[in-house]
């Protein structure tokens, strides 16, 4: 009998309803390791990230779904809630009680009810509406607050880069 985490991940993988037009089929990078998933995030429409296709990796802990996975964009990103190294910082990815930024209420934290699907949807909405209070990237949140135009320009640059242009 395989571990709970593995079974749950397999269940989530098999349950592959089309999640949302913004997310491209998340799944294990290779069938040997179900604990590393790849996903492609489409920049949501009518935002500065529109048109971009951003690859990301989800790494699941061995006690998933008790602990949340980690998500990291593997392309360049410039966003208030994404660390310069690509790690995503949103409340759904934090277990209650661990709060690196100290702004999140525990209601939106990780719990086993959440899933890959919900994480990816949250990430899409995070791209659309940055939360400049919990600044994983201080420069980006500052620019988002103070110089929106410049932020849009940089975001467009990243979109082009993600498309390999």
């Amino acid at each position: 009998m395989a571990g709970t985490a593995l079974k749950r991940l397999m269940a989530e993988y098999k349950h592959d309803d089309p999640i949302s037009p913004s997310v491209c089929s998340p799944g294990p990078a290779n069938e040997e390791n179900f604990f590393e998933w790849e996903a492609l995030i489409m920049g949501p429409e009518d935002t500065c990230f529109e048109g971009g296709v951003f690859p990301a990796i989800l790494s699941f802990p061995s006690d998933y779904p008790l602990s949340p996975p980690k998500m990291r964009f593997t392309c360049d990103m410039f966003h208030p809630n994404i660390y310069p190294d690509g790690r995503v910082c949103i409340s759904i990815l934090h277990a209650p009680g661990d709060d690196p930024m100290g702004y999140e209420s525990s209601a939106e934290r990780w719990s086993p009810v959440q899933s890959v699907e919900k994480i990816l949807l949250s990430v899409v909405s995070m791209l659309a509406e940055p939360n400049d209070e919990s600044g994983a990237n201080v420069d980006a949140s500052k620019m988002w607050r103070e110089d929106r135009e410049q932020f849009y320009k940089l975001a467009q640059k990243i979109v082009r880069k993600s498309l390999g242009l």
Binding site: T4, E32, L66, V113
Partner: protein, 633 residues
Amino acid sequence: MVRAALVTATSMALTGAVVAHAYLLKHQFYPTVVYLTKSSPSMAVLYIQAFVLVFLLGKIMRKVFFGQLRAAEMEHLIERSWYAVTETCLAFTVFRDDFSPRFVALFTLLLFLKCFHWLAEDRVDFMERSPNISWVFHLRVLSLLGLLAVMDFLFVNHACHSIITRGASVQLVFGFEYAILLTMILTTFIKYVLHTVDLQSENPWDNKAVYMLYTELFTGFIKVLLYIAFMTIMIKVHTFPLFAIRPMYLAMRQFKKAVTDAIMSRRAIRNMNTLYPDATPEDLQASDNVCIICREEMVTGAKKLPCNHIFHSSCLRSWFQRQQTCPTCRMDVLRASNNNQAQAPAPAPAPAAPANAPAAPAPNVAPGMLPGFPPGVFPFWGPFPAVPPPAAAAPPAAPAAADAPPSSTDTTQAAGTSQPTSSAADAATSSAAAAAPGSAIPGFPFSFPPPPFPAAPWLPMPPPPPFVSSMPPPPPSLSRLTEEELRELEAEGRRGLEARLQCLQNIHTLLDAAMLNIHHYLSTVATLAPPRPEGGAAEAGGANREAASAGAESPATERDSSTSDPVGGATVSSQPADSTSSASDAERKENWDEGAADDENGEPSAAELRRRRLRKLETSPSSPTSPSPPPDN
């Protein structure tokens, strides 16, 4: 990869060149060796060659025991290696006297073996993640673990031997390090066995997590003991072992985590078994039957939380180990169950009373209502039977005080809603609050005349409205109330809880007193009204004088009944009642005077209006408990 090959090739070539050069100079084996060891550049080259060889050996071993390393394993290995190298360098500074090629070689070997321990640990952890484990995997892990264990054991043995025969030396560090590695092998092996057993069985093994936990706890404890022993010995023999600080800290943190995990797990299991009912087949059918934690169907062994969410008991248990909330709705289950257990006597009546008061003041007024209350609920119940005589003796004040009962119920309601929150306040406030009703209650009947009534007994109440805002009306948001309350409760513990209970009871008493008050009032009006329905102000004034004489008897009667009261919340309640009853004497007199003055100067029409209003209120016949009018009325 290419670079590694290049380095290997270069070092091979260099070594070859150095050795060839020496041999060409000396032509014989022994002089060549002597020459090589004497020449620093040659030695440097040879050292590098040695490291390269160790590196190559490591690669071969890795190929044999692990095959391809995964990215995560590699990352982990490199990170840990850096720490280990730093710590080794620190250790060198402590043992610079013993510094020798042999010493460096031993440290290198230690580091080398450590790497394999880490890799073995990671690999065994991976068993949980991989859908299929081949027999090669088992063979590799077992042989590696065996090999490492044997080597660790030999080194520990050697170190012990050397320390015993030659006294403390750098061997102390080695012996200790290998002992730590040995415990690590032990942990890994136990985990491996657990994983293997789990993989063999077809059904989920619920207790595996518990066994894992206790393994961690056990080996963590050994590690901490080892570190403490090592620290003590090192401080005594050498100096403070700076290089062991970080691993020691990590070991202690891990142990602490294991302990908390074990405690949480025990608690979770206990709660699971005692607090939450098994889900019935009907429950399972009513829900969608899928456990939200593991996303599998629930057939048996499901538990239902107080919020009606259903999960596998094993899934729930592992979640409760981390958090005591419902995974779906985040309701705090421990809090909920605590409330059910510990606070059962208090909150049950608490929401009921304030709910009753605002919703149905009229039924409360109804005399038949009063005896319906369970006697034990109100410790202050005692003084009440004493109240009737003076209250009933006050009929003359009644017309004037007709306003008072409604306003007093209002105040009572306000107090009723504000009290429960104030009860959450610290013991001081709540004890003060406990005293307040005591003073208020005996004062009740005597403060009939309108102006002093609301003012005198209610103002001294310590917990004023500010509390109201912090708590919404109790029953609808009871969960929120208890959450706040519990936070306090955790801080104050039992004492706070008791004070709170007391306070809640006081609220009841207050509400009750208000009801009783109205009740008395009605009964007095009932006795007064029939004979002289069109009674004027002058009559009221006359009756008032009668009340004064009746009131004089009251303290005695009151004291009697409060001490002889069989219900007797007695010890707590009778005392404030006593002390305040005498205190209220003075107050009472004032009130009479004022009341009398009011009535005599008051307009008859107003008095009549009040009386009519009261007659409307008086829907039911006077109750059995309604005090019989005093003899002189």
